[in-house]
Every structure is written in structure tokens, then in C-alpha cells.
């Protein structure tokens, strides 16, 4: 039965090409905007979630004066270094509510010919205390990292596990890769043990090797996990109250602030797309009202030939569904195409972490956009369809004269 009605609907759509195209186009524009915006938002969201989960820390303690620097390093991934006294670590560990803490020290490689990659962020971490790096290795390392080994972020695609990198004339073997997070801070960095840094310091600044820009007995940040019964923001307050000169950044807040930033950035686009959607809804609604008016006689004849109200209703709704489905598919294709073409430019101008969605997620986004497109058509056609269904057959037939 449904097939027969679908057949009728298709024949009508095929013979009314211009009108069908207009509706397809309206849905296409909406679906394309919707798809590209949701994909961008999702890529940022995903990256934030993964990046902060990757960070694995509730708090990030940094020198007070480095707060903005630290945040932008986290989010935009510009390598930057800042230092505080290493003995702050013990103080932080002693604070109420701190369950675990792990220090990290940043070192930007010199731009002289000492290093395979210049201007790269090297991050030294404390293997015994670390809870943020090793859980995210793509292939688990069943043993401690050796002093001459490093773990690499995913963005450094030129290197694989087993390849050798040289920093300050000191060779390191890549022992593992981290999952991609979309956060440059993590993806573009190289992680090594403090013993590894000691190896570098032993060579740097000697003979013709460039000096390493790393003051002694300093650390850059302390990553903190809080006890479950304490709110991270409370522990942050404890830390800042008891230790001078440090800032405890609540990582959840960073997500929230990026979301806000993203929302502000995309709000205008979003409101444009909402307006587009409403316009498409109105346009389709008006077009279908016109269609129903114009086809009154046809509808009356359908009824005379035995069509029930439900048949007429479904016929109109099916036509809207078919058109908006086609529009949705084309829109997703166009939106996806534009995104793929201008992806780098778009993300560069947004300057926030992002992670191109996986195939599964992309499929989900496509699905959601298609469902929304089809719903748009169905909602827009609802009233005209009801009106058509409840016309008295003879009134319909006469009205079409």
C-alpha cells in the first residue's frame, strides 16, 4: 500500500521538476550549513574531551604569572615554557584533597642545528608518579620507559615507533605513540623521562652543541588528581591559598571556557542557520500549501477513486519526505565537501583544538542531519497535508475548477 502511494508521489515529483528542485535546494542549504557547523562543533568537542581526558588531571598547577600562557599552550598548542621551583611539588602533594600529583618540565628545542625538529616541545615526566601519559599509549608499553626512549604525540607523523630522533646531539628511540587528541600541546610534543632530560643536559652547551634553555631544579607544571570527595575547584583554592605564586587551573573549566568561546564564535553562524531553517520551513510550507491548492481537483479525484484521508495525507507527507531526503543527502555532501576543502583554513581561523571525527562519528552526524532534514520537510508539509486530507471530495473537485 505504502509503495503504491510512494509511486504516485514520485511520479508527481518527477513531472513537477522545477518545484521539486526548489524544495530540494532549500533543504540542501539548511542541511549543508547544519552539517558543517555540527561537524566543526563536534570535532572541537571531541578534541576537548579527549585532550582533557588524556591530560587525566583535575588540576594543572603552574606559576601564577604563566596562567594565560599555560592555558593557551593547552588549547592552541603554541609551545611555551615557564618554570617554578621543583620543591613546590612536595608542598602541592601535601595539600588536603590531593590524591596524586605528577610534575612535568617543558623544554623547547633550540632552533640551532642540534635537533631533528627545532622549536618542538619536549616534556619531561616523572615515570613513577605519572598518571597522564602512559595510559594513552596506542600500544601498551609493558615496561618502564628507558632514559634513551621517548613517547611521541600523534601529529608527528614523520616518525614511527622504532625511529630515532636526536635532540642536542643525544639520540632517542621512539618507544610509543599517543592517541591523537586534536590538542597541539599533546599531539605535537615529545615525552621523555627526567633521566632523558639529564642526558640532554649532559651534552647541551658543551663543545659545538647548542645550550638547552632549561634552568636547574625547576619544573613547569604539576598535574593533580583530587580525591573523589573533594571538588577540583575547592582543592584549587586550597593550593592557591597555601602556596604562594602558583595558579591551579581547573581543567574542566578550560573545557567550559573553550565551549563558550566556540559558542560565541559559532553563535552568529548558528543563528543564521536557525533563520535559514525557519525560512526553509516556511518556504516548504508555503510551496506545499500552493501544491495542495493547485491539486485540489486531483485530490478530489483520488478520493472519488477510493483514496482515504490517510492516503492523501501520506501522499503529501511522502512527497515532502522524498524531497527533503534528497535535499538532505545533497546538503550533507555539499557541506562535507566544503569542509573537506576548507578544513584547514576553517580550523586555523577558529584557533581551537579539533579532531576530525572518526568514520563512525561522521556517519552519526550524517544520520542526524538527514533525520533533521527529513523532519523539516515533514513538519513543513504537516498542515497542508492535513488540510488536503480533510477536504470534502466534491469541494476539492469543484475548488480545482
Amino acid at each position: 500500500m505504502e509503495l503504491k502511494i510512494l509511486r504516485l508521489a514520485n511520479q508527481n515529483l518527477k513531472r513537477k521538476k522545477f518545484r521539486s528542485l526548489a524544495i530540494i535546494l532549500a533543504v540542501l542549504v539548511v542541511a549543508a550549513t547544519l552539517f558543517s557547523i555540527t561537524t566543526i562543533m563536534d570535532s572541537v568537542e571531541q578534541s576537548l574531551e579527549r585532550g582533557t581526558a588524556r591530560l587525566g588531571a583535575d588540576l594543572m598547577v603552574v606559576p601564577r604569572e604563566a596562567e594565560t600562557e599555560a592555558k593557551s599552550a593547552l588549547l592552541a598548542g603554541k609551545p611555551s615554557t615557564f618554570y617554578m621551583d621543583a620543591d613546590l611539588f612536595d608542598k602541592v602533594q601535601a595539600i588536603r584533597g590531593v590524591r596524586a600529583a605528577s610534575p612535568q618540565t617543558f623544554l623547547t628545542t633550540s632552533s640551532y642545528s642540534c635537533c631533528d625538529v627545532s622549536g618542538m616541545l619536549l616534556i619531561a615526566f616523572d615515570q613513577k608518579r605519572d598518571f597522564t601519559i602512559k595510559p594513552w599509549l596506542t600500544t601498551t608499553l609493558q615496561r618502564p620507559l628507558k632514559p634513551d626512549e621517548v613517547i611521541m604525540g600523534r601529529a608527528l607523523t614523520a616518525y614511527m615507533v622504532g625511529s630515532v630522533l636526536t635532540f642536542y646531539k643525544t639520540p632517542f628511540t621512539v618507544a610509543g605513540m599517543l592517541e591523537e587528541t586534536g590538542m597541539d600541546f599533546i599531539d605535537n610534543s615529545v615525552f621523555m623521562t627526567y633521566e632523558g632530560v639529564d642526558r640532554i643536559l649532559a651534552r647541551a652547551g658543551k663543545g659545538n652543541v647548542a645550550a638547552a634553555d632549561l634552568p636547574p631544579d625547576k619544573i613547569s607544571t604539576i598535574l593533580v588528581q583530587v580525591d573523589p570527595e573533594y571538588a577540583p575547584s575547592r582543592v584549587a583554592l586550597f593550593i592557591e591559598a597555601e602556596i604562594d605564586g602558583v595558579k591551579a587551573i581547573v581543567t574542566d573549566r578550560i573545557i567550559a571556557s573553550v565551549r563558550k568561546q566556540l559558542f560565541v564564535l559559532l553563535r552568529s553562524i548558528l543563528s543564521v542557520s536557525v533563520i535559514l531553517w525557519v525560512m526553509a520551513l516556511l518556504l516548504i510550507g508555503v510551496v506545499f500549501s500552493m501544491i495542495v491548492n493547485e491539486r485540489r481537483r486531483e485530490i478530489g479525484i483520488f478520493r472519488a477513486m477510493g483514496a482515504r484521508r490517510g492516503h492523501v495525507f501520506r501522499l503529501i507527507i511522502l512527497e515532502a519526505t522524498v524531497l527533503s531526503f534528497i535535499g538532505g543527502i545533497l546538503g550533507v555532501a555539499v557541506g562535507g565537501g566544503v569542509l573537506a576543502m576548507f578544513r584547514d583554513a576553517i580550523y586555523a581561523s577558529l584557533d581551537i583544538p579539533h579532531l576530525w571525527p572518526s568514520t563512525g562519528r561522521l556517519a552519526l552526524l550524517v544520520g542526524v542531519c538527514l533525520v533533521l532534514s527529513v523532519l523539516t520537510g515533514m513538519i513543513a508539509a504537516l498542515l497542508p497535508a492535513l488540510r488536503a486530507a480533510f477536504l470534502e471530495p466534491y469541494e476539492a473537485i469543484r475548488g480545482g475548477e
Binding site: 504516485l8 483520488f302 472519488a304 477510493g306 483514496a307
Partner: protein, 227 residues
């Protein structure tokens, strides 16, 4: 098979003025009746057919088909009745412009339980009877008024209806074709016991029916055979 009692239809015009299009009409006919209704335009013939066909609701009176008061039926039931027991030939062009000729003939199958596939042969036969076999794939816009009318007539028999309500079915046909159409009606009437109510201006056509009625200002009266 069809019993009409005190049937009345009043239209309220935009100005509030009321027009009694069908005024206290009663008659009864048996299965296989072959009758014509004559009358000036505006006398209510089309309205009467639509009341009997369940296309417009009367203001008063009853229409019984096989003992069932059709205006007591739920809308879906009435639709099914139209789909299975009745068919119409309208006064005006009534083909669906977006469907080709054969799909137009098969239109009732879109709304009923009959399979389209099973009816295609029958549709072709009916088109052949109306000399429209070659135009099977043409669209209505590519046909003349008379050709469209012949397709509409073919469609009226696709569901093997018990009742055919024909509103000036030969209006735009030449005399020769008109006679062919009457012969075809007669054939179905004899072979399938199809009941015909034919509204016509043509006294030639009316003369070939078994019973004649005349409609005057909403009232229906039998025409006494002239001597």
C-alpha cells in the same frame, strides 16, 4: 440496490444566500438498472450524483446502497465503498496530469487491496475498447479532450464496479464515439449487471436507456414515455 429518500442538499453562497441544489429527491433502483437523468444546467444533476457517490454530504435524507446508509459509514468505509463498488465519470477533465494514460486507468488500484500488476491486462483491454491502446504511455496534456474523456471512461471500469455514476460522459465526444460509449455501457450492463446512472444532455443517449428522469430546480421526476 440504490434507495434514495428525501435527499436534500443546500449550498450556502458567500453572501449567505442559500441554494437548494437537490430538493427532496426520492427514488429506488435495482441492480442492473440503466437510467438517465436529463435537465438544464444548474438543475442539480451533478450534485445528486455526488450525494449518491458519497462525495458530498447531504443536508437531509438518506442514500442506501445494498441496504447500507452510506452517510452513516465512517469516512474510511465510505472510501472503501467507492474504491470497490463504484466508479465515476466526471463532467470535466479528470485525469491526473502527472500520470500517464495506463497509470490513470489504474489509479483506483493505488488505494485498494487489488494489485496493480493483476490489473494491467484489464487496463489494456479497457483502453483497447476505447481505441486508446496506442496511447498507453502518453500523458493527458498530449491528448485531445475527446481522447482524455475516453481514458476517463476506461478508468470507470477498472475496478469492475457495481455502480457507475456518469456525469455527461459523452459531452466532448462526436456522435459516432458517443454511440460506441453507449454500446460499451450496455455491454457492461448486460454482462456484469453494472448499474448505470447517466446524466446527459443528449436525448439520443437518454432514449437508449431503460428509464429516464428529468431534474428541474433540484427536483427529480420520471419522464413518462411519450407516445
Amino acid at each position: 440496490m440504490i434507495e434514495v429518500e428525501h435527499l436534500q442538499k443546500i449550498y450556502t453562497l458567500e453572501g449567505g444566500e442559500k441554494v437548494t441544489a437537490v430538493d427532496d429527491v426520492s427514488f429506488a433502483i435495482e441492480r442492473g438498472a440503466f437510467l438517465s437523468i436529463l435537465g438544464h444546467s444548474g438543475s442539480g444533476k451533478t450534485t445528486l450524483l455526488n450525494l449518491i457517490g458519497g462525495l458530498t454530504r447531504p443536508n437531509g435524507g438518506t442514500v442506501r446502497i445494498d441496504g447500507q446508509d452510506i452517510w452513516q459509514l465512517a469516512d474510511d468505509e465510505l472510501s472503501r465503498l467507492r474504491n470497490e463498488k463504484m466508479n465515476f465519470i466526471f463532467q470535466f477533465a479528470s485525469l491526473i496530469p502527472t500520470l500517464n494514460v495506463i497509470d490513470n486507468v489504474l489509479l483506483p488500484s493505488a488505494f485498494g487491496s487489488a494489485k496493480r500488476r493483476d490489473l494491467v491486462e484489464r487496463a489494456r483491454e479497457l483502453l483497447a475498447m476505447m481505441n486508446m491502446a496506442e496511447k498507453e504511455h502518453a500523458y493527458p496534456a498530449q491528448l485531445s479532450g475527446g481522447q482524455q474523456r475516453r481514458v476517463a471512461i476506461a478508468r470507470a471500469f477498472i475496478n469492475d464496479p457495481a455502480i457507475v455514476l456518469a456525469d455527461e460522459p459523452t459531452g466532448d465526444l462526436d456522435e459516432e464515439t458517443e454511440q460506441e460509449v453507449i454500446d460499451l455501457f450496455r455491454k457492461f450492463n448486460r454482462e456484469r449487471q453494472t448499474t448505470f446512472l447517466i446524466v446527459t444532455h443528449s436525448s439520443d443517449l437518454a432514449a437508449q436507456t431503460d428509464r429516464q428522469f428529468r431534474m428541474t430546480a433540484g427536483r427529480l421526476a420520471p419522464v413518462e414515455p411519450s407516445t
